[in-house]
């Protein structure tokens, strides 16, 4: 089983709040990813990292930011949440092979 964790699993928050979604993995993987997925829709890559101090934006433009200070930790931050940010956020990590996904955070912004 993959050891990748996301917290919180569910978050309901008001507009304008700052939030941080946590993602940690214990597999020592260099590559980590954030995806955004609306119900029944495609996954869209919004951020990825090749390693510590390396972050890049993905194919889908996102107002969120990420940081990679430690190999095992890849948090995603929204400075000012809006209803359009309501979605599921999935974190993943990989070595040279397949990606391992966390359980996701379902974010609702009121």
């Amino acid at each position: 089983e993959a050891d990748i964790y996301q917290t919180p699993r569910y978050l309901v928050i008001g507009t304008g709040k700052k939030i941080t979604l946590e993602c940690s993995q214990t597999m020592g993987h260099d590559k980590m990813y954030w995806y955004q997925q609306d119900p029944g829709m495609e996954l869209h890559l919004i951020h990825y990292s090749y390693g510590v101090n390396s972050t890049e934006k993905g194919d889908l433009s996102s107002e969120s930011t990420v940081s990679r200070i430690r190999t095992e930790h890849f948090p995603l931050t929204l400075e000012s949440a809006r209803p359009s940010h309501t979605s599921q956020y999935l974190c993943a990590s990989s070595d040279i092979g397949e990606q391992f996904f966390g359980p996701g955070t379902r974010l609702t912004v009121l």
Partner: protein, 111 residues
């Protein structure tokens, strides 16, 4: 980027073999073909990966013709628990920046 095309949905019955085909006409020499399975409210889970010919593991087989412009995921004797969305991806092994999941195939298994 190698774009993939899959059927939007498929239906089958328990105990049947299910084959899901993915088209990737502009696959590059260094690209691998990977399939993932996703259940509702969960992250995708790796099923199988291949480069050419046939790959088999304990849950599925992957058939890739010589021109590599398509691939077929084969699920033997499906059960109700195989109801999920299946994604075909084409990317360089280990690449982070060129991974596109696409719409996937929604597979429904009936009793």
């Amino acid at each position: 980027l190698a774009k993939t095309t899959q059927p939007i949905s498929m239906d089958s019955y328990e105990g049947q073999e299910v084959n899901i085909t993915c088209s990737h006409n502009n696959i590059a020499t260094n690209d691998y073909i990977t399939w993932y399975q996703q259940f509702p409210s969960q992250g995708p889970r790796f099923i199988i990966q291949g480069y050419k010919t046939k790959v088999t593991n304990e849950v599925a087989s992957l058939f890739i013709p010589a021109d590599r412009k398509s691939s077929t995921l084969s699920l033997p004797r499906v059960s109700l628990s195989d109801t999920a969305v299946y994604y075909c991806l084409v990317a360089v092994a280990g690449s982070a920046s060129k991974i596109i999941f696409g719409s996937g195939t929604r597979l429904s298994i009936r009793p």
